[in-house]
């Protein structure tokens, strides 16, 4: 199969997440006023948002729908031809691939969509507008920064990662991500039966562009645990906590993870119920010979939470949202 390409197609980075909210107004208030994302544009009821340091057209889109869900999680390919090459590669692997023509999603070129074995919906694109901000009230004075920082709300710098959940085997997802999309395992949790129950994976220098967690408490095989935006400083996370509390938004934290070494607060969008991680610090993996860090469940007292407030037991099960469609492979 691999001989079809001179160079295997590659994922460059996480692009965006497309959310459906059952209370659009509240979700927009949360993401625009409390979190402080900027609106690039609104087209046909889809609101395209990004953080002040996001270069591409959008890193989050939100539209109204009867049930909160994730329409898709989008990844930017490394080269223009990689979009089509991923279609070939995935179809060869027996995956059903849909083509999404340029402009279907505002700002975006030709793309493909498909489901993981778990039923999570993924999109791969290459071409995406990088709109220049022109309004001097919004535009940064720096040429390397789209918007002014600190205009409103929490004001994180950029989109960081997604965390998906499943009530099936994590390895169904982890293996798919590794074999077909080139994600490398950076850290993972192994259960006593040698099953990988959680994995932090990336194609970039980040510890994770995506994390995968399995637990029978989750409703389906294709849940979204959280999406995450990144801030420059740990203290920005403390300021985020102040802002969330004053705005009556439910959150857990602050705390610091052992795995990933990141400061966090987990806030819940009062519109859609989506969990948003405000995130800072962490570390970079620049070594090509990185050995994945293995953790046991016994080590999770420090692995999940180095210190700080963590979610109450069972809360995870109630606060994920559906991130895909039930498909045959998902429930084995």
């Amino acid at each position: 199969m691999k001989k079809k390409f001179d160079v295997l197609p590659e994922i460059a980075k996480l692009g965006h997440v497309a959310l459906v909210s059952n209370d659009l107004e509240k979700s927009l208030w949360f993401f625009e006023e409390v979190v402080g994302l900027e609106k690039t544009t609104e087209v046909d009821g889809v609101h395209y948002l990004r953080a002040w340091g996001d270069f591409e057209h959008h890193t989050l889109s939100i539209k109204a729908g009867p049930e909160p869900s994730v329409d898709h999680i989008a990844w930017k390919a490394k080269r223009p031809e990689d979009v089509n090459n991923f279609a070939i590669l995935l179809r060869d692997a027996g995956v059903d691939v849909t083509e999404v023509v340029a402009g279907t999603e505002t700002g975006q070129g030709d793309a493909i969509r498909f489901q993981l074995p778990s039923g999570h919906h993924f999109e791969i694109y290459y071409q995406m507008e990088k709109p220049k901000v022109t309004d001097p009230k919004l535009k940064s004075v720096l040429k390397n920064q789209p918007y002014k920082a600190w205009r409103k709300g929490i004001s994180p710098r950029r989109f960081d990662h997604v965390n998906i959940a499943t009530n099936a085997q994590a390895s169904d997802i982890v293996d798919f991500l590794a074999e077909n999309l080139g994600f490398k395992i950076r850290e993972y949790i192994k259960a006593p039966d040698d099953q990988v129950v959680a994995a932090w994976m990336s194609v970039t220098a980040l510890v994770h562009d995506i994390a995968v967690m399995s637990n029978p408490v989750f409703d389906t095989s294709h849940e979204l645990h959280h999406i995450s935006y990144w801030s420059d400083n740990a203290q920005d996370i403390l300021r985020a906590a102040d802002i969330l509390r004053e705005n009556g938004v439910h959150f857990v934290g602050p705390g610091k993870h052992g795995i990933s070494q990141a400061m966090y607060v987990y806030a819940t969008d009062p519109g859609s119920g989506v969990r948003l991680e405000l995130f800072s610090n962490s570390y970079l993996i620049l070594d090509p010979d990185w050995e994945p860090v293995e953790w046991s469940l016994e080590e999770m007292e420090i692995g999940f939470t180095y210190w700080g407030e963590q979610a109450a037991a069972g809360e995870d099960a109630n606060t994920t949202i559906n991130a895909g469609s039930p498909i045959e492979q998902a429930i084995k």
Copy 2:
């Protein structure tokens, strides 16, 4: 030339800098007690140091010598075979390449050394020990972190980048780095005569693994402007300033660069005169279609210094140290 390889050799990341100090004791006091680097080992008068979050054997080595200088700047290749492939590629490009057998530098496998057209000495290696810390007083309780943080001094997390200087054309270096070593220009300054006078280049997601600055005030074509260690938070840089002032170490800053968007303090090693940048924040470039950001000299008021204290005019010229040998190509 390129057809010799299935895959072109690639640089994965900056590895280490090998310093020569004319006052070793003072340099060790500075780097170990004030900056707070950890000593992996000392062998034959070479002191191998790293930050608490550096995984490889060393990111800085220091030995005594009559004149302060940089022995070499070392880069880790992406694959084992890349070391040899770089040797082939560089020799084809007319570069004189020396082989350095495993163990010459403690912890390091086979490597090569060569000079840039400017005379700067580079090394490329792949294999490097990643020593586990075993002393419970030093070892972090986290499996993904070598040493405890905050043991002493400033305590930065990891080695970040080097900045080299030349009194010749910057393009001599920039072109070499781009064509032979695969560095991409992320931001650069263009003079009115269309010459690139400074460039920030990387092979990683960092805005720069290496920066190149040209100015006739520099003594030679092969100077080191500074090396840099990274801290997690802007406030760590303020704490660094307190520590430097209390220890009587000369420094400039704190400030924030426009280019790279990074918080900084520049401290001078009282032993060798080497300038060390304590560095935080900045941004990541994950986009494969990044367009280098061009700055003019007129924009440097905000480009060099977004805010804060900057070096007095002319200080740069006096505070670089020699980072190579005079070679024919360097002086045109």
Copy 3:
């Protein structure tokens, strides 16, 4: 003289500063949008502002006028009867005292006004409204905090101190503040001729509620050097620098003073030219037996600026504004 009172009248704290701006619109943009002060009310063209953590009706008032100036600097007395007792005490000391009836200044009870020997205008009041914020969008969820923090701009917590300047003897002012108003010297600078050329004085635990600086470069004997608002964290001052730069507001810093040990940025109101210090950290003096800390001019390299950017020489002279009327005593 002192026998007139069972208990000598006392100053409890700095209350507010009343500014006159020659560009009111710009000053309001600066103080409300960039600095982020809240407007309690506007009455007869006087805009009454306070920070989110200020309990009293206003800590800054601004009105339009042909020339930027300070109408008065107001101090809250410790007891209701102290306002009148200060009138008696000051008149006994030969000071001309004017009574200001309740309501002249919105929210304020009966007060007195008078000039220092330098010509600076002071006010003493006791009664001041402490308006409860009722709008749930503005009101903090905490019962001990008037407004939500972080609503807009820099968002400092509270008014902190004033710094006044004179081209006459500092001791004219310092002695008056000590003898008549009970201010204690906390730190001071002594010139080689034994003159006190600057003093940091307080009636509270702050290192200074007021500082006094003398220098022949100042235009008159009654200048305002700066007013200052306090933020909780050093990093808030870095965030302030970002916001100021993005809004095109001139500022100096960040830096850290040796005297007072405080982080600072000095911003200039583009409307009035008033200098505003954004201020954090510093220390408290709780000891009743505090010995004033004496500094010599030679020690000012570390005394004025422990580290960071400081104002260019001579800048002080150009950026103070008039804080009083020329009076006979002022020019000796």
Copy 4:
């Protein structure tokens, strides 16, 4: 009674706490190496410690004993004669007062000791040495700061407050503190039966120099809930959490209180079991007409913990230490 004095004696500030540890070595490791307090001196087995910004001889003393306990909590009087005047005032109020001659406690002048109705042991002194640090490795370059900051461990700036607990009525303590020692209530919790169950009280601008909490779960009427040292920045508390975790010290937090608006981490001295609060931010009360802020138990969700991790229910009961002797008045 009050006519005996021209001026009533007054407390100026909290001075120190004298601890007894049943594992002195571990307590010294905790307070000196982990917390990073400096040792002024050791005399006759009593270790006198202070933070780098504490001006007086000691703010904590520790000696060995069979049971962990608080020997006394010491307060500095405002004037030399206040020590004796407090003795007169307290004896008139029926309190048994013991005189402690100068030198009994190293560095301290004549003092008095007595018990609260609850059995807590208090000391009042005025004269205390303020030793100058002379070792250039320890001494700050600033004239207003005793030691260099950041030498080791958490490195808080200064002693801040004590929190005492009782299984009897809080009002027994609160009324005594208000009537005899001049403490003002700044914030308090009122139970449905109108009982004050907790109060934050001060003689300084701090929200509390002392807090009092009553709960039947406490063992006796005279417990110490915690002592507290203050750091300049919220991020210093996060750094403290890192250091505590790496050193295996049990702690709760970080979090932010609603009452007092302070960032905290509560660490437990592994030697004595004393709970130490690392503390930052909070607010100052400079208004002489401050109205105590009343909270109900229903408001405690936000009052105790604005956000962050709080102690598990019941933990309080197990982690206080004895701070006095059983006395008749204490158990009613």
